[in-house]
């Protein structure tokens, strides 16, 4: 465990340094400099700003090399180290340039004499960062990484490439997934979370430079503190998710558009397109950076859109071209493999292979939030702040989706106190507002999961930062004190949230709790995964009926849930014979049915859970007869594999080998869990 942590930290330190080294010459190729008069820094972009661009482009470039190696099935340990070493060599070659830069930056920081409030804000960010880093150093326990963000890289590392795998979310663009694959190959399972944590800090840095450039350093610092203290930042920064990579690229893309968009400076627009593409290639919801980036171009060019439409058109095309160029490899791979560049998200348009109307209906019927009326639309920001429980299903307001009231309180203050009248700040607010509004419209029309709109959080933090500074700058001492008090209270409150969230990771990270005890307490259904690992032969292949803990399987395994995969066409199987043939073809030897709170621990109990109560009430013979017709509803589609398996069990071709107890974790933070039973079957085929 300690060795894993040290390796993870060292590998990431190298990866970030080498990303900067690789990106430095790329930034020079673009040679971006700020046009005089733009923002507060007419001399051009500053060292930190340029460094963040270099790091983003360098990281993207390194990941692309790994991606192409993987697409050619040549991503193995030696290749991974060779590329890492080559990136290191490129960085070392530039030592004579980088060393004086680093010394000058250090000296500049050393000579700074910031006011006490600025130091306090920096201390808050440092406190959050320490807590998040501890969380990142714990064994992965969040559900999404165990299901896809780490599970798919683990598979890719195992097979040495990026084959098309028809499991939902496994083929969706993933710049960080490429990095996680490399880290699982050569570093440790802690490394991906440390990478994601690093990107959370880099995003705070990007927020700072964006605010500083267009509204002053105070706005930048306050915005960075607001963003980094959001509970969602806390929840994400300490886990191997991908959102922080996406928002880092997206914020820099907005910076680039604000800097060069007005004058249609192609270098900045192409740079923005590449960064927007990297954001979209990191997280599907960050694909919003594409249309939102176009909206920003239109806003920053303002009246120039009508006066010089050709220039605007060229800007839009250039941004779109660079955006698509980055996404190209993933889109082309998915299109060739399944006829849908965004498999399976583009099903409605492309009707891709290995996906069906039942899959589509199931996922498009997901709903959360108070509703989709015009009133709900208008009240969305209010509800996201003050009624977050209506977006989190049964989890209530105390979740990672919780926002702070600071955003809603201070964003209107930016306009109320006249900050928008300043040309640069007004342009900043208009552009960020356009980006956020477009993202909000798309999000509102779809599944209103709060995390899916996280890409706008850094931008809202900048807008709120403008509001805080505007309120504090009204020459009314009481108002300045009130603004500072509100901000301070909010930051203290969110630091408390971070302590509550991350305190559960301290025992395992500092050796007071074993890895197994930690996983048992934090990961749903981990007991069934461990039972399979410890009790089934090494040449086993397990069909997993359940969605938890996939990353921790040591045995060969296959996703069995009908709705989450497209390799097993249960809907075409009219009898258990069809299932036996297909399972035999793919080498399945065992079936694991994970426990669920609302399911009887039997195959037909599971069928009733996903298909409805009638599956528990009708005779098996009747259910098997129904299989001769295609499923009618998505529920029938989901229940079908369990009916098929129950048929096999009744015929004696599927034998129960173990029934065990495990827990479903209802809250990692509050420690809630419920006991359930899991089942392990052996396929008895002659």
């Amino acid at each position: 465990m300690a060795a894993d942590i040290v390796v993870a930290l060292a590998f990431n330190a190298g990866l970030m340094a080498f990303s900067y080294g690789v990106g430095r010459p790329i930034v020079r190729i673009f040679n971006p400099s700020g046009p005089a008069g733009v923002g507060r820094d007419p001399a051009g972009i500053r060292r930190l700003d340029r460094g963040l661009f270099a790091l983003a482009l360098g990281f993207g470039a390194i990941m692309f090399v790994y991606l192409f190696l993987g697409l050619g099935d040549a991503l193995n340990k030696p290749a991974a180290w060779a590329i890492y070493g080559a990136a290191g060599a490129i960085t070392l070659v530039q030592y004579r340039g980088i060393a004086p830069e680093a010394r000058a930056a250090f000296e500049r920081v050393r000579k700074q004499r910031p006011p006490a409030w600025a130091l306090a804000l920096a201390a808050v960010v440092a406190g959050h960062a320490f807590l998040n880093l501890v969380g990142a150093m714990a064994p992965p326990s969040m559900a999404d990484p165990l299901r896809h963000h780490l599970a798919s890289p683990a598979y890719y590392a195992d097979v040495g490439g990026f084959p098309f795998v028809p499991v939902i979310f496994w083929n969706i663009p993933g710049v960080l997934h490429v990095g996680y694959t490399v880290e699982l190959l050569v570093a440790s399972e802690i490394a991906p979370a440390v990478t994601h944590f690093t990107f959370s800090l880099l995003t705070a840095g990007a927020v700072f430079v964006l605010g500083r450039r267009f509204a002053g350093w105070k706005v930048g610092l306050i915005a960075a503190a607001i963003f980094y203290s959001l509970p969602m930042t806390t929840e994400l920064a300490s886990a191997p998710m991908v959102e922080m990579g996406a928002v880092f690229f997206a914020v820099l893309a907005v910076y680039a558009l604000l800097t060069g968009g007005k004058d249609a400076d192609m270098r900045w627009i192409l740079l923005a397109g590449l960064l927007g593409g990297l954001a979209g290639a990191t997280k599907p919801w960050a694909l919003l950076a594409g249309p939102a980036g176009l909206a920003v171009i239109l806003v920053v060019q303002g009246s120039g859109v009508l006066q010089r439409p050709r220039r605007t058109a060229i800007s839009l095309v250039a941004f779109s071209f660079a955006f698509g160029l980055v996404l190209g490899p993933w889109l082309i791979r998915n299109y060739i493999a399944a006829g849908d560049p965004l498999w399976p998200l583009g099903y409605q348009v492309f009707r891709g292979d290995m996906w069906t109307d039942w899959h589509f209906e199931k996922f498009s019927s997901w709903e959360t939030g108070p509703g989709k009326s015009l009133v709900d639309f208008v009240l969305g920001p209010w509800n996201l702040t003050n009624e977050i429980g209506s977006f989190t299903q049964d989890r209530g307001p105390l979740s990672g989706s919780l926002l702070t009231p600071i955003l809603l309180i201070f964003i209107p203050a930016a306009w109320l106190f006249g900050a928008a009248r300043n040309k640069a700040t007004g342009g900043l607010l208009a552009a960020l507002g356009a980006f956020a509004a477009l993202a909000y419209v798309v999000w509102f029309a779809g599944y209103q999961q709060p995390r899916y709109i996280q890409v706008v959080h850094p931008l809202l933090a900048v807008m709120a930062g403008v509001g805080v500074v505007a309120a504090a700058g009204t020459r009314r001492r009481w108002l300045a004190l009130a603004a500072a008090g509100l901000l301070g209270l909010s930051l203290v409150g969110t630091l408390g949230v971070s302590v509550a969230f991350n305190s559960g990771f301290f025992p395992v990270v500092f050796g007071a709790q074993s890895r197994d005890e930690f996983l048992e307490a934090k990961v749903s259904n981990i007991s069934s995964v461990m039972w399979v690992n410890e009790n089934l032969p090494t040449d086993t292949k397990v069909l997993v009926m359940g969605l938890a803990g996939w990353y921790y399987f040591d045995r060969d395994w296959l996703v069995g849930d009908s709705a989450y995969q497209g390799h097993l066409a249960y809907h075409d199987m009219a009898s258990p014979d069809g299932l036996v043939m297909e399972l035999s073809d793919v080498g399945v030897t065992h079936v694991l049915v994970q426990g669920a709170v609302d399911a009887e621990p039997t195959l037909l109990g599971w069928a009733a859970r996903v298909g409805g109560p009638s599956y528990g009430e009708r005779a098996l013979e009747e259910l098997l007869t129904d299989l001769e017709l295609p499923p009618v509803t998505p529920n029938d589609f989901e229940a079908r594999p369990f009916v098929l398996l129950a048929g096999l069990q009744a015929e004696g071709r599927l034998g129960l080998v173990h029934r065990g107890e495990e827990t479903v974790v209802t809250s990692r933070t509050f420690g809630g869990s419920e006991s359930v039973e899991f089942l392990v079957f052996e396929l008895l085929v002659e």
Partner: protein, 59 residues
């Protein structure tokens, strides 16, 4: 003490509101948001107590 109407009609109050309407609007807005924000936790006090208990060992 005059009636409310006469108090509201006093020139000083009118001038005060006219000069400070922006901070007043802001404060009203901030208080409204804060009250609504804190109100959403009214059903979660037990959960908050559970977390505090876990962190501070029964505090």
């Amino acid at each position: 003490m005059g009636s409310i109407k006469s108090v509201l009609a006093r020139p000083m109050l009118v001038r005060f509101v006219r000069e400070h309407w922006k901070p007043l609007v802001f404060v009203a807005w901030a208080v409204g948001v804060l009250v609504a924000y804190l109100g959403q936790f009214s059903d979660s006090l037990d959960s908050i107590r559970d977390v505090l208990s876990r962190i501070f060992g029964g505090a």
